[in-house]
Amino acid sequence: MCLLKVEDVYKSYGDFMVLRGISFQLEKGEIKVIIGPSGTGKSTLLRCLNGLTSPDKGKIWIDGVEVTDPKTNINKIRSNIGFVFQSFNLFAHLTALDNVCIGLVKVKGMKKSEARLLAMEELRRVGLEDKAGAYPAELSGGQQQRVSIARALAMNPKLILFDEPTSALDPELIGEVLNVMIDLAKGGMTMLVVSHEIGFCRAVADEILFLDEGKIIEKGHPSVLLTNPSYKRTKEFLHKIIELYGEERD
């Protein structure tokens, strides 16, 4: 059974239809990357998946539970899905450690002492155990994003959603975050990533979905889609991306 199933999702903001009939699936352990021009609803799609936004039409299932059903306990679902934001969104008044702990204590009801141990583990995993006592404002963008990944990981999620995780970072900081993400991928985490980091796609993506004007224009394995896309629009977009952001990243 698939972990994530999206069926025929539509969403408009006022007159503007952002998502026009999106359907796809994600199996456990799969890594899919969504690429496409800005403003085409990629962020909106991710937010529909954990209920931060509701689609106008269509259904979404996570591990068999229907997210779009108003009777579902959305907080329970959210506690099992990780979400990494483009602007990190760390809690400014808490240290890195407390940022990672707070979900465990408040949502999962864990004891503070237990939560701290677990949180330290996650911080170690992203390479930031020495910054446990630092406040977000004292950390660089790349460090903040890694803490936010640790925060998501601590909840032991079945799936992690990434909303353009490196777009707000200075170029030299992107690498440290991508490396963490690649490690996660290799470790078997199920991930749905919105990004234009082609190098990341080549390294670990099982499939790339090209989203434009609210529809999935094309999907395919990186080795196919990146070298020989079937559609003109895909070709044009990839061209632009490579122009702007350069090719691979080590």
Binding site: K76, R78, S79, F83, F85, N89, L90, F91, A92, Q144
Partner: protein
């Protein structure tokens, strides 16, 4: 000038007693006013339509009418519906309700200034609305509101002088009494003025230090 100095020495104790009463009123109305103000502010940000309407109505009423009118209404008007209050209680209630209206707006501003992204992240973790408010929004909002809250506190200390109109024996009232008995009104009020200057300065200093200690947290990038 020695006349004034002797005068001061003689009557300082009386004025000091009045100052205690001033501080009493101030403490009570700040306590009640801050709590009520916080609820009103929360109601304006998170409340449903009726809570929003009620809070807004309350705030408009108390910000749109003079404090003097409010205190006269509470002290002279309420007995007509069988609510009899002593001058000190009436003054504290009127001033408290007044400051709550102003503080509500400061709290509202501070709450809304907390970046929406943090709220989203908290929801994404699975927190309920209540958890988001108490664990993420309020801890930061309460720190941000301190400068404006301090201004309000100082303002209220000065406006407490209005209580003398309904006979509360605070600083102003005592100065007036001294005036009546010595006919040296100007000196009495001048002394009172200096005492007010002193206590507001001390308060301002303390609050400034509080702000520095608590707002050490820089804002996140």
């Amino acid at each position: 000038m020695t006349g004034f100095f002797d005068f001061a020495l003689t009557y300082l104790p009386v004025l000091f007693e009045g100052t205690i009463v001033t501080l009493e009123i101030w403490a009570w109305c700040m306590l009640g006013g801050t709590i009520l103000g916080l609820f009103l502010g929360l109601g304006r940000v998170y409340g449903n339509k009726s809570i929003y309407a009620l809070s807004t109505g309350y705030i408009e009423l108390f910000r749109g009418t003079p404090m003097l009118a409010q205190i006269l209404f509470v002290y002279f008007g309420l007995p007509e519906i069988n609510i009899l209050l002593s001058p000190i209680v009436a003054a504290s209630i009127a001033l408290g309700m007044n400051t709550a209206a102003y503080q509500a707006e400061y709290f509202r501003g501070a709450i809304r200034s907390i970046e929406a992204g943090q709220v989203e992240a908290a929801r994404a973790l699975g927190m309920t609305q209540t958890q988001v408010i108490s664990n993420i929004v309020l801890p930061q909002a309460l720190r941000r509101v301190i400068p404006q809250w301090s201004n309000e506190a100082i303002l209220l200390l000065k406006y407490s002088s209005i209580a003398f109109v309904i006979g509360v024996p605070e600083l102003m009232a005592r100065a007036q009494m001294i005036g009546y008995s010595t006919f040296r009104f100007f000196d009495a009020f001048l002394l009172a003025a200096f005492i007010y200057l002193m206590i507001t300065s001390i308060l301002a200093q303390c609050l400034h230090m509080l702000d520095k200690r608590v707002s050490v947290l820089p804002r996140a990038g």
